[in-house]
Every structure is written in structure tokens, then in C-alpha cells.
Amino acid sequence: MNGDFIIEAINVTKRFGKIKAVDGVSAGIAKGETLVIVGPSGSGKSTFLRCLNMLETPESGTVLFNGVDITSKKIDINLYRQKIGMVFQHFNLFPHMTVLKNMTAAPMKLQKKKESDAVEKAMALLSRVGLADRALAYPYQLSGGQKQRVAIVRALCMEPEVMLFDEPTSALDPEMVGEALDVMKDLARGGMTMAVVTHEMNFAREAASRVIFMDEGKIVEENSPDNLFAAPASPRLKSFLAKIL
């Protein structure tokens, strides 16, 4: 389809037992855009996102990263994952490493960066999210919002071409949601290519270039945020929006 897509999923299907979690979904993320995926729980949006870096292996369909089929067994998926950053609902910081070590471990080991370079990059990113003074703290010493900001910059340390966010604010206390979203908005404004699965409709309104609504493993509606929220076409999206807004 479009040659500008950094990641493109074509007809991706993923089953868990008898349930089709993702049912023939095709979608692409263009360079610099922020794609937000919304939908009720169990709609397959997280599973779809996890297919994009092969944390879930699709049963059928293709995922292209810059035109390369990363579902192929012939490629080394680890090389592509280095270019696809991911942020999780439960942060998944490494508890036995300091914040700084969390951030420098992968660049030093996988990109063979010198320690001084990796640390410099990490510190610059930490300052950007206001956490430079926590560089030597362990994850358990951080608040949820701080952990998620660290998780975001940890992924950024690998200089990814695209960032995937899997419900990044769902495990946060309400007063901490804002700080994580601010970092993400800042990223979006800076031109990072992003795919975000979230329940934060305000984030979708403000930061999304495009919104996808999924239900029962399928894309039901796809539109600009203004149109999608103001004029939902399908009854399912209408009832979903009525429940959460």
C-alpha cells in the first residue's frame, strides 16, 4: 500500500485457543504520526500492538518494518526490536538495576556504545523528563509516574524509529497519569512515530493524528480524532464513547 509506513500490518490474525483476539487487521503507521488505538477491553487492541514487534507471533498475515517482513523466520527479530521501542502497562523496569543501568544496558550491549556515550545520552533523556536526579535510584524507590517516565526514556535510549505504548497509564494513580502523558505528548510533538493503545480519550483528542477503534478483534472505525469523537459512525463506537466520556 503506502510506502511511507514505518510499520505496516497486513491482514494480521492472532488466536488464543478458540478466541480470535485479532481478526484480519490491516493498519499502518506513517513516519511522524501518532496512531491511537482505542476500544473496550478484550477488543484485541493490545494483542494487535504486541504483534507489531512480534511479542505475539501472528498466526497469519504480515508485519512489515520499513518494508521488511518481520514475521519471517529468516530475519533476526532482535535486530528489528532494537528499532521498535515499547512501553508497557506495568513499566517492567529491571528491579536489580539502577535507573541509569536500566537505560544503558541495552545500548551498551546491543549497539556496542561506549559507556560514556550511553550515560551521556541517558542523562540527557532523564533531564528531558525531569528525572536526572533519580539516575542512581532503584526502581522501587520511584513513584509509578516516575517509573513510567523512566520506562519511556529507557526505550528511547535505543533511538527507535517507532514507539509502541501498551496502555501506558492504566496502572498509574490518577494524579500521576498526567506526567506520563505529558512526556508522550512532548514526544509526539517532536515528530516521533508512535502507536498508542490507551483509554485516555483526552490524549487521543490532543495528540493523535489518527484514531483507530477496535472491537472483537477488528478495526471498526478509523478517522481523525476530531471526526471520530464528534461524529462516530458505527453504533458500537457510539455506545463505547457514551460509556467512557
Binding site: N78, Q82, F88, H90, F91, N92
Partner: protein
């Protein structure tokens, strides 16, 4: 009356430990016991972690099919037969036709035996690490071995340290069956004295007390370690 008791005790002590330098049976035996225990523990940990790595890799990724079958067979056989039989078979059957150092045989036998228990301890440790840690490691681009070594193993090891210490204590006491291949360890040393002096009380109780002292020492150290771990446990709340 009390005076008589102490006199007997002193006589017994002299008979069993001083006469003919019999204390050397105990001292040399203790050295053998500690040697066998320490080297067998090291061997057991090496075997155990390799087996656990193979088994969990198979469970998580489906790889290592043949290796997994071999590991499972190893666990079944070693955990399903008494350690006395294992050491007898290794000494008299496997190394039956060669002249081999008995201490070496004991280290091999107890190492292989302990490895099977360490394997299951280590496996439970790896399984106890949150799946999100595996996913975070993979999403950064670490390959499976790098992820296991840098991210999972340190957390798993910390989780199972108390259980590993416990296995070490069990191993220390189990080595007392070394006498079956006539290796003169601590237990055998006490038994030899008994068979020479025909006075069982002093040598056997002494040997038992030495085991008790060793185990108490290790238990104390384990307890200290566990307390330190508990202090840093909060970090596992994500």
C-alpha cells in the same frame, strides 16, 4: 556420684580421642566431609542451573526438545533412586574396573544428585520472575541468552537463595553415607572409633554434635541472608 560421672566421662574421652591419636579420625573425616560437600555443591549448582535453563527455555519457547527429554530423564532417575544406590553404582559399576580416588567419586555422585534438586529450585526461581521482565528484555532487542543472563538470572538467583542454602544443608548431612564406599568422612570416622573402642556413646554423639554445629552455623548465615533479602524485597513491588 557426680564425681564418678565426670571421671567416667574423662576416661571415655581419653579412650576414644586421645589414645592412639584417634581424634585424627574425626579431624580428617571432617576435612573429607567439608571437601565433598563444597565441591559437590559447586558441581550441583552448575548442573542445576544448566538443566533449569534448558527446561525453562523449552517451556517458554519450545526449543531444546531433545535436551529437555534428557534433562527430564536425569531428574526422574536421580530423584527417584536413593543417593546410597547412586554412589554405590558410580563407585562399583561405573568406575568398578579402575582405581579411583574415593573422594572424587563422592564429589561426582553427590554433585549429580544435588544437581537434580538445584535444577528444580532454579527452575522455580526463573518461573517466579514476572513475565513482563522477559517481555521488556525482548522488546529492547536482547536475544534469549542475553536476556536470561542479564535480566532474569540475577532476579531468579535472589528469589531462590534461601532454598539453595537449604539444599546445601541437606547435602552436608547426606554426605554421611560416604562410608558405603569406605570413604572415611566424618560419620565414618566416628564409627571407626566406636568399632575399635567398643564404646559408642562418646564418638557417635560427638560426630552428631559436629554436624549439628555445622548446620546451625549455615542456618544462622542463611537467616542473616534472608533478612537482608527481605529488607530489599520492596523493590519487587513494581
Amino acid at each position: 556420684m557426680l564425681n564418678g560421672f565426670f571421671e567416667t566421662l574423662t576416661e571415655q574421652f581419653i579412650l576414644n580421642f586421645i589414645d592412639g591419636g584417634r581424634w585424627k579420625f574425626i579431624a580428617n573425616g571432617l576435612v573429607v566431609t567439608l571437601k565433598v560437600t563444597l565441591f559437590a555443591a559447586a558441581l550441583g549448582i552448575a548442573i542445576g542451573f544448566i538443566v533449569a535453563f534448558v527446561r525453562t527455555t523449552h517451556d517458554k519457547t519450545g526449543g531444546f526438545k531433545i535436551m529437555n527429554v534428557i534433562c527430564k530423564a536425569y531428574l526422574t532417575v536421580i530423584r527417584g533412586t536413593p543417593v546410597v544406590m547412586q554412589i554405590l553404582i558410580i563407585y562399583f559399576v561405573i568406575f568398578g574396573s579402575v582405581n579411583i580416588d574415593k573422594t572424587f567419586v563422592a564429589i561426582i555422585a553427590f554433585g549429580i544428585n544435588s544437581g537434580s534438586y538445584v535444577a528444580e529450585i532454579a527452575r522455580s526461581g526463573i518461573m517466579s520472575v514476572d513475565n513482563g521482565q522477559f517481555e521488556a528484555g525482548r522488546s529492547l532487542g536482547f536475544n534469549y541468552v542475553q536476556m536470561m543472563w542479564r535480566i532474569i538470572a540475577p532476579q531468579a538467583f535472589k528469589n531462590v537463595l534461601p532454598a539453595l542454602c537449604n539444599e546445601f544443608i541437606t547435602l552436608l548431612k547426606e554426605t554421611s553415607v560416604c562410608g558405603y564406599i569406605a570413604l572415611q568422612d566424618l560419620a565414618k570416622g566416628g564409627d571407626i572409633i566406636r568399632s575399635v573402642t567398643y564404646s559408642p556413646f562418646m564418638p557417635l554423639i560427638s560426630v552428631a554434635l559436629i554436624y549439628l554445629a555445622l548446620v546451625t552455623l549455615f542456618t544462622f548465615l542463611t537467616g542473616k541472608l534472608e533478612r537482608r533479602l527481605r529488607d530489599s524485597e520492596r523493590r519487587f513491588y513494581n
